[in-house]
Symmetry: C2
Subunit: 459 residues, 2 copies
Amino acid sequence: MAKKEATLEKFFSPKTVAIVGVSQNPKKLGHVIFRNFFDGAFSGKYFIVNPKEKNILGQTCYPNIHSIPEKIDLALIATPAQTILDVIDDCAKKGVKHAIIISAGFEEVGNFLLRDRLKAKLDKHGIKVIGPNCLGIYDSSSLLDTLFLPPRRLERPKSGGIAFLCQSGSAGAALVDLSSENGLGFSKFISYGNAINVDEADLIDYLGSDPKTKVICLFSEGVKDGRKFMQAAQAVSKKKPIVVMKGGMTAEGSRAILSHTGALAGAPEIYKGAFRQAGVLQVDYIEDLFQIAHLLRTSIRPKGNRVQVVTNGGGFGVLSTDAIIKNGLQMAVMKESARKRLAKKFTDFAIVKNPIDLTGNGTTEWFKAALDAAIGDSNVDIILAITLYQAPLLEEDLADVLIKAHNMRKKPIIVVATGREFGKIIKPRLEKQGISVYQFPEKAVLAIKHLVDYYSLRA
Amino acid sequence: MAKKEATLEKFFSPKTVAIVGVSQNPKKLGHVIFRNFFDGAFSGKYFIVNPKEKNILGQTCYPNIHSIPEKIDLALIATPAQTILDVIDDCAKKGVKHAIIISAGFEEVGNFLLRDRLKAKLDKHGIKVIGPNCLGIYDSSSLLDTLFLPPRRLERPKSGGIAFLCQSGSAGAALVDLSSENGLGFSKFISYGNAINVDEADLIDYLGSDPKTKVICLFSEGVKDGRKFMQAAQAVSKKKPIVVMKGGMTAEGSRAILSHTGALAGAPEIYKGAFRQAGVLQVDYIEDLFQIAHLLRTSIRPKGNRVQVVTNGGGFGVLSTDAIIKNGLQMAVMKESARKRLAKKFTDFAIVKNPIDLTGNGTTEWFKAALDAAIGDSNVDIILAITLYQAPLLEEDLADVLIKAHNMRKKPIIVVATGREFGKIIKPRLEKQGISVYQFPEKAVLAIKHLVDYYSLRA
């Protein structure tokens, strides 16, 4: 295992990179990738290759890889599919052992012969390839950036604990772009396409030992080697959570996958069972992938599944309760003594059950009292705090109270904050302190369910 | 029916309003409501009532309602619960027939006796009351605004076709605040609280004839009079869609409701069946309420349930396919001749099945060709266009193509646009033209399912 990890490391923080297929035309794929290096802050050195050019933007252009005067750790290949075999020969001559093939035109368009010839050649030379038919890698530490979409179209994410593996380039790009807007941090984004000889199992295995990665997210259309995937996932899920969105959970969806990545999708029930057995959390909707990963990233381990809701809005308390029960969690029952003490503190209007409903009269002080009581009560495992800042008495100092309660690190505290102005002020403050904040109670509870599931699957 | 409609009209566009319980203290409920009138643009006249003050912010303060020198269409009551019976006597003396009681402290805190005495008094005098224990009304036409939350906390929505009925004030406020940020337009927002003698059935009945209201959304915790609700909903759902989120769909959620609004929640299965029978669309998650209403508001009637997906990203095509099947819709099968024509137009990479996957090479022109073909194909009822602007060749002019296709009004066209920069530019343009735009394919398909359901329930 240690050897394999050492091997994949070159994909993410190579000292030297050769970009093959850089044209003068700024709209061409290879040129866009080149610009990521030219304009960016990649930690290593890079060289560009194009036999038809002498230099581009003042950078020397080499006619081929083996004429580059330094050892090359990683080749980025963006030339047309029909040239790939020659480029790989060139890599072999140079002793390059790692390549990312961005180019499309293999089994996903029915060109199985080309795939097989490429695969044989890679095996022969012992070259590891991510791709083909992919965006490649964005690494927020080394700042290696092979995404051929300019930042105007795809905002690069900030650094953070989530590694995102995505077979589909377009879906990956859209999701990273959207998440970057929401301030989500990624350790690595890896679009691995057709996975010719590096697949999700290899990558999961590698990310299991990557200290920057705390949670692994995967949008998969189909696992090629089930046994290998199970082995890798089973080992890694004991160290860090793996959250999967599996496309093609219907027969029709499977057929669409066959057209898209050429992967065979397999029966949904088999995937469900296998994921569970491997300790992998499966989500039903793509939008939930990162929302759930966020809580897994930030939260301490809950002791059980008993949730205490503290809210200043009864309606959202009801929705939370429904969601807790539907997701197989339990409503905590706080000790009567604690509840009586709280009831005394609040006016007649507040309801000290579960939910504790502070009503529109709820103040920061009341929230603090309720949180303290729930943290101190051994019948409570997890606290869901619903903070509706439309209410007249809530002020920004509630954020301090929530942060303080969270920083005690005694019980997971999950926050719902729905709305505009205050949400904009308070949400980033809480998230900066590692608190997961949700717009809707049902989404918060879904994340809690996966948090509880993760530790119970791991046990 | 006509009589009842005429009656409720006074709640929404009264010519004269009396605000009872306005104090000098700007933090007090009555004062905040007063400020809505003082600072706002309400179309009628208003008077303030407080026996302890001579004037507030330069406005004459009347000692009671009957001393106001004009006829009063609507009384807004924000005085403590124990004063309400006297205030209602005062209303009766003045001949006021409509009141909104904002104040809490009735059955929701166990004060059933006060509720019964209030109800008897209202019946005796023939006074209609919205509330108690509510926020009251925001009407985007008359600009009547009884919400006691200042705009800094609760942004007022722009005018639009959605009427939103919400038992819970806090949930209603949070949802309106959030939706206003997303640019959703409302005809009316009505927080009706304990519904002492005006309930959701009366309001639905009224909104059925309100020309400004095109879709009715309801967040309900429990319907008090099932038969009355069914009658109103059955009649109105033939004219315009009613979308309901029902809280308390678990036994535990029902108990939470009992604490919150004192309403009995009833069995979930009974609600499900009754909603369906009444042509009411039920959503499972509060966040879906307006997303679904938006499409019902904007879309023409689909001829059937066969959906053609046009995408420039294969992964989202797969997710759409899964969602279409899971939601009981059908994947359209376009005529072979049309598909052959399209395939000729596109490169080898594009896949002309369903989904039509234009791939990352997709251009505005290709989208246009695919949309035209789908619009012209009698095997297609609905078109789902997935536009991922991260792809290098897509430009803003795709918005023009989508708008043109939509404006032909031949088939419903639903758009998915995931991401940041381009989404920000294009989404508002499309929405301004009445196109529903979603961030995720599954949400778009869920909305399509409800669109199809609405017309099939109505038939």
